[in-house]
């Protein structure tokens, strides 16, 4: 994938995300479920943070609170971006959620249309982003004809269209096969490095987490609390071979051990 050609001149800097004693309860009274409990986390500008945990641990809920799709029951969530930084927070979901009545370029540029940007700018930005995510030549295609991986690329490109200072990714590659997933992880790393945005990724794949993250936040099962954090300090850009290294395996083994501890 060619990244350099698609880079925009004004690279936005990343947003700073801070969570202070955040908790989330669903429902009321006896039926209420505590999904997230007392999570405090500071994410630095430009950092790549992965939220990892067993299913149902509230990691998606946590991400949705950062993205403003859920309100925290207690605590505070704040995101600040440096002056001149782009369009705040953007989210790409587990399912691509592309609008079937729009073609790929129109889907990617939808957020710009919502902000009233002129058609010429939207077209230019869409083809730029298509190049960035490897969808050049598919601009006028309807999303229903794309493969799963290509749909996710388009969804990520849509999120990037607003030049977000913070990019939230909710298991975007969860439905993809292993080979496509490796490829997408490499491309995501490239995109992140070229945009300088802060990325928060939710996943339940340990290797994906270790491969991509600057920092892994391991959450315990319901209610979700921060169980342990890992700093992952491999050089960037990482290639797929880093996964076979001893240190990589060591971190994976340790996380797996912690996760097994939850279920026993």
């Amino acid at each position: 994938m060619v990244v350099a050609a698609a880079e925009s001149g004004d690279t936005p800097s990343g947003g700073r995300v801070s969570l202070v004693s955040v908790g989330k309860t669903f429902g009321h009274g006896d039926d209420s479920v505590l999904a997230v409990d007392d999570v405090s986390l500071n994410i630095n500008p430009g950092e790549f943070v992965v939220l990892l945990g067993p299913s149902g641990c509230g990691k998606t809920t946590l991400l949705r609170m950062i993205g403003g799709l859920e309100q925290a029951t207690v605590g505070s969530v704040s995101i600040s971006a440096a002056a001149g930084a782009g369009g705040g927070v953007a989210t790409a979901f587990q399912d691509p959620r592309l609008f079937p009545w729009l073609n790929v370029a129109e889907n990617i540029a939808l957020p710009l249309k919502l902000r009233g940007r002129p058609a010429s700018e939207r077209r230019a930005r869409a083809s730029q982003l298509c190049a960035l995510v490897g969808l050049t030549g598919f601009e006028t295609v309807r999303p229903t004809t794309l493969s799963g991986g290509m749909k996710q690329r388009a969804a990520i490109a849509r999120a990037l269209s607003v030049e977000p200072s913070t990019l939230l990714l909710d298991e975007p590659f969860g439905a993809l096969d292993a080979m496509t997933r490796d490829q997408m992880n490499l491309e995501l790393q490239q995109i992140w490095m070229s945009t300088g945005a802060t990325v928060v990724l939710v996943t339940h794949s340990i290797t994906e987490a270790v491969f991509l993250a600057d920092r892994i936040v391991l959450l315990s099962p319901r209610p979700g609390r921060i169980h342990k954090t890992y700093d992952v300090e491999f050089d960037r850009p990482r290639d797929i071979d880093v996964q076979t290294g001893a240190r990589f395996q060591e971190i994976v083994r340790d996380i797996r051990h912690e996760l097994n501890g939850f279920s026993s």
């Binding site: 799709l69 609008f99 009545w101």
Partner: protein, 260 residues
């Protein structure tokens, strides 16, 4: 052999149609059915051609088409608007529910004499009847379309700070359009029925009036001719709405599954 196999899908229905008309003719002749009850197909065809040659037939046809399309147009505007509003505002949906159920269960044809009393013998009463009949399917399908929009799509609009206007034009309307078109397909047929039934009861114009008049003059062959003309108008209108689906929602499965 190969060519014959390709022609089978066309030959078979053609054969069935020819057999039907031959059987009809044979039945009328052998059983000695009166021409005032059931004329032979060829007699009807001749009457139909004669009917098309008459100068005032096109005036009658135009009146029926005008009433149907006006009523249908009103039904689209009111049905879609009300469907959208009720689909979006829960309080209005709950408040108006009794009225919706009432309009659904009352046999609307029974209201026809009332509309004639209110709106007179002119085209206005027929337009109202057309609109009332075709309103419900358009309204209910619009409501269904608006309410069944994927929650995930709404979240996409939320994350990108879409305003109410954009949420409507960029998500709700296009997403509900396949349902609205389904309502329109049912509605156009009911709109024609509304206009014809209205003409049965009052007035002296339109193909509905003409069919009652020919019946009273025992011109059964001409009556069949009027019915054929009505069928053709109905077919053309239904076909037009179907084409609208291909034009407006080419992305939807319903547009491709129809191989016409």
């Amino acid at each position: 052999m190969n060519i014959f196999r390709k022609l089978v899908p066309y030959l078979l229905p053609a054969f069935a149609v020819v057999t039907f008309f031959v059987g009809w003719t044979a039945y009328v002749r052998i059983a000695g059915i009166s021409e005032f009850i059931l004329p032979e197909p060829l007699v009807i065809f001749r009457a139909f051609i004669e009917l098309l040659g008459e100068p005032d037939i096109w005036g009658h046809a135009w009146v029926t088409v005008y009433e149907t399309l006006s009523g249908f147009g009103i039904a689209i505007v009111v049905g879609v608007s009300l469907g959208v509003v009720m689909g979006k505002v829960r309080a209005i949906e709950i408040a108006l529910k009794p009225f919706v159920i009432a309009t659904q269960v009352v046999p609307k044809i029974a209201l026809v004499p009332l509309f004639i009393v209110w709106f007179g013998f002119g085209p206005e009463s027929k337009i109202v009847i057309s609109a009332v009949l075709s309103f419900f399917p358009i309204f209910s399908n619009t409501l269904l379309g608006i309410k069944s929009i994927d929650r995930g799509y709404h979240e996409v609009m939320t994350t990108f700070d879409a305003g109410r206007y954009h949420r409507f034009t960029m998500l709700e309307l296009p997403s509900a359009l396949p349902n609205i078109l389904t309502g329109m397909e049912i509605g156009i047929v009911l709109a024609i029925i509304g206009a014809i039934v209205g003409e049965f009861i009052g007035g002296n114009k339109g193909l509905g009036y003409l069919s009652v008049a020919t019946m009273q003059e025992l011109q059964v062959d001409t009556l069949f001719g009027v019915i054929m003309l009505l069928a053709m108008i109905g077919l053309a209108m239904y076909f037009a709405v179907m084409m609208l689906r291909r034009l407006l929602v080419p992305w939807h499965e319903s547009a491709s599954s129809w191989n016409g």
